[in-house]
């Protein structure tokens, strides 16, 4: 089955589609026409979706929703969500700016998702895997207690069942509205990643646009193999902060997948159209080592 058919073969959309285009509008909107931020052309949304969110004109890889990402990665109908019942609290009763509790509710309404990550069991090319996908529309896919917990449990589930873990990552970083509880999710997920590595179970990370801050500085970069999508922005400090620090303009391509590939920080840059096959190939190879 060609990869483009996975979208069509999708049996049902488990979560309701967003009712309005996401803020910033870099993700795929539900409208008929969308503007590509890469080439500034107006595209028919159906064409963009059939092309897995890759602009047919300039090749820009647009952000995908969690559902779209699951559909493009997993065998049709194989995704079985785990820990879908976890909900964020408001531990700090964070009121500065938009009250946190309201921000969560708005994100849930807007995305139909319970939180910024979906995790579950699935098959990829017939191989059992644990998979996690992050959705940037949900408060910038920032990592609070629920994201940290679901990611940690995904590592543990992969470890217990001895099946590979595949994470499709996007994130603005730690979720500051959860303060230190959020920062500590970095240590928690890194510890879970270390256990999986020690158990000899493969973990493949797919870094997508953007992967920044505390997520890059924890579980995202602790993978056995790090794959990135073309043009994905990947880094620790935000580009504006770096620009203020060095007091000059940033070079072209700074903090992109291609630049980090050149600096030796990631294994592969893979276009979305061949991403699924590449990951399956990696898993088959890594899993064969122990046999």
């Amino acid at each position: 089955m060609p990869i483009s058919d996975w979208f069509r073969a999708r049996e049902q959309r488990r979560y309701t589609a967003p009712s309005e285009p996401p803020r910033g509008s870099e993700s795929l909107a539900d409208g008929v026409w969308v503007r590509c931020e890469g080439c500034k052309r107006t595209l028919y949304a159906g064409d963009l979706e059939r092309g897995l969110g890759v602009c047919p004109s300039c090749g820009r890889h647009h952000q995908l929703t969690a559902d779209q990402r699951i559909d493009m990665l997993c065998d049709p109908g194989s995704f079985d969500e785990i820990d879908g019942d976890l909900r964020s609290g408001d531990p700090l009763e964070f009121r500065s700016g938009k009250p946190y509790a309201e921000a969560i509710e708005a994100a849930q309404d807007n995305t139909g998702l319970p939180e910024a990550v979906l995790t579950g069991r699935a098959l990829m090319g017939g191989l059992p895997v644990v998979v996690g996908v992050m959705d940037f529309r949900f408060i910038g896919a920032s990592m609070g207690s629920v994201v940290g917990e679901r990611i940690a449990r995904a590592f543990e589930s992969a470890c217990d069942r001895r099946v590979p873990l595949v994470l499709a990552i996007a994130s603005g970083g730690a979720r500051m509205q959860e303060g230190m509880l959020s920062l500590m999710q970095m240590a928690k997920t890194a510890a879970a990643a270390a256990r999986l590595a020690d158990a000899g179970v493969p973990y493949v990370a797919i870094l997508t646009d953007p992967t920044m801050g505390g997520v890059t500085a924890s579980f995202a970069t602790l993978a056995d193999v790090i794959v990135a999508e073309p043009g994905a922005r990947i880094g620790f400090a935000g580009p504006r902060l770096v620009e203020r620090t060095i007091r000059r303009a940033l070079p072209k391509g700074f903090q992109t997948a291609e630049s980090l590939l050149g600096h030796g920080m990631i294994d592969l840059v893979v276009e979305r159209g061949s991403l699924r096959e590449t990951v399956i190939g990696l898993l088959v190879c890594l899993a064969a080592g122990g046999e």
């Binding site: 730690a174 959020s182 240590a187 890194a190 995202a220 880094g235 902060l241």
Partner: protein, 323 residues
């Protein structure tokens, strides 16, 4: 207090310092010119005492952040000189360079041999430049990780001192994998088979602090902070106004007291009125005692139990509900 004028003054101390200066000049008048001011001096002394007590016993989170950044506060180098003996600094990450912003080395604490890691801040411009104002490059974290592994290999407990505004957000730092270096420290720290005791002595800024900032015990100085983001950056993101950092400090719940209440800090070491810089020797002594006590407790645990309990400690962090 004859050195009032020369002391570094934090913004919120200004009213107290003004009053102290007034008292100084009254005393000066009385001594030098023989003016009969005993009554006035006594009254003003009482006023100064009262203001000092009020000011320093009702510190806001933002005022504590300022104290945590006080340049005369004891830094990692001071602890190394005062609390430890036989200090041997170990240099370099064996990959690229040696980052002075991160101390790594071996030392004696009482009768015990330990590995020490700590962010370094300077007390003058030369030192600050050398230490990059306490903000490590990737090499600093990689050196720290190298020494964590060394400690693990030879069974040495690890003691870490947190005092950084954060990892350095530079261009080359990104190219050389700042995030990778921090993540690797986190993974390693989670699985070293030796006790890890962390002390928050000043600033605990985000991932750069966390890289050496968790383990089996977290001890916080009374006016140290530990935060997911700096108050200034938080205020910038929320309101585009760094000046609202005071408000952000409150929202972020970053004080030692907040951490203790949330169950993240195990112990808060008290500081003298006004901050650790008022009596560094006593504060450092108390830290040394607290660290030694923590190591005594942890030393009784077999390595398997130690890392299992460290993992459970981390796994328990977070607040969420199941629907």
């Amino acid at each position: 207090m004859s050195d009032v004028a020369r002391r570094f003054v934090m913004e919120f101390e200004r009213p107290l310092v003004d009053l102290e200066e007034k008292l100084e000049s009254l005393k000066h008048l009385s001594v030098v010119e023989g003016a009969e001011l005993a009554v006035e001096i006594a009254a003003l002394e009482a006023e100064v005492d009262e203001l000092r007590t009020t000011l320093y016993t009702s510190l806001t989170p933002w005022e504590r952040v300022q104290i945590s950044r006080h340049p005369e506060r004891p830094h990692t180098d001071d602890y190394l000189a005062d609390v430890f003996r036989d200090v041997i600094e170990l240099h370099g990450d064996r990959l690229y360079g040696d980052d002075a912003a991160m101390f790594a080395g071996l030392a004696s604490l009482g009768t015990r041999k330990v590995a020490v890691l700590g962010h370094r801040k300077g007390r003058n411009t030369t030192e600050n430049v050398r230490y990059n104002f306490g903000s490590p490059h990737p090499e600093g974290f990689r050196k720290a990780e190298r020494v964590m592994l060394l400690a693990d290999r030879f069974g040495l407990p690890i003691v870490t001192f947190l005092d950084t505004a954060g990892a350095y957000p530079g261009l080359e730092d990104e190219d050389r994998g700042q995030a990778w270096a921090i993540a690797s420290c986190l993974a390693t720290l989670s699985r070293v088979r030796v006790p890890v005791v962390t002390v928050g002595i000043g600033e605990g800024g985000s991932g750069g602090a966390l890289a050496i900032g968790f383990g089996d015990r977290l001890i916080m100085l009374e006016n140290a902070y530990y935060s997911v983001i700096s108050p200034e950056m938080c205020a910038t993101i929320l309101h585009k106004e760094p000046a609202r950092a005071a408000e952000a400090s409150g929202c972020l719940q970053l004080t030692a007291q907040d951490l203790e209440r949330m169950g993240l800090a195990d112990e808060v070491v008290p500081e003298p009125l006004g901050g650790a810089q008022r009596d560094p020797v006593t504060v450092m002594g108390a830290v040394g005692t607290a660290v030694a006590r923590a190591l005594d407790d942890l030393g009784a645990l077999p390595a398997d139990a130690l890392i299992a309990s460290r993992y459970e400690r981390l796994r328990a962090i977070g607040e969420y509900s199941s629907e």
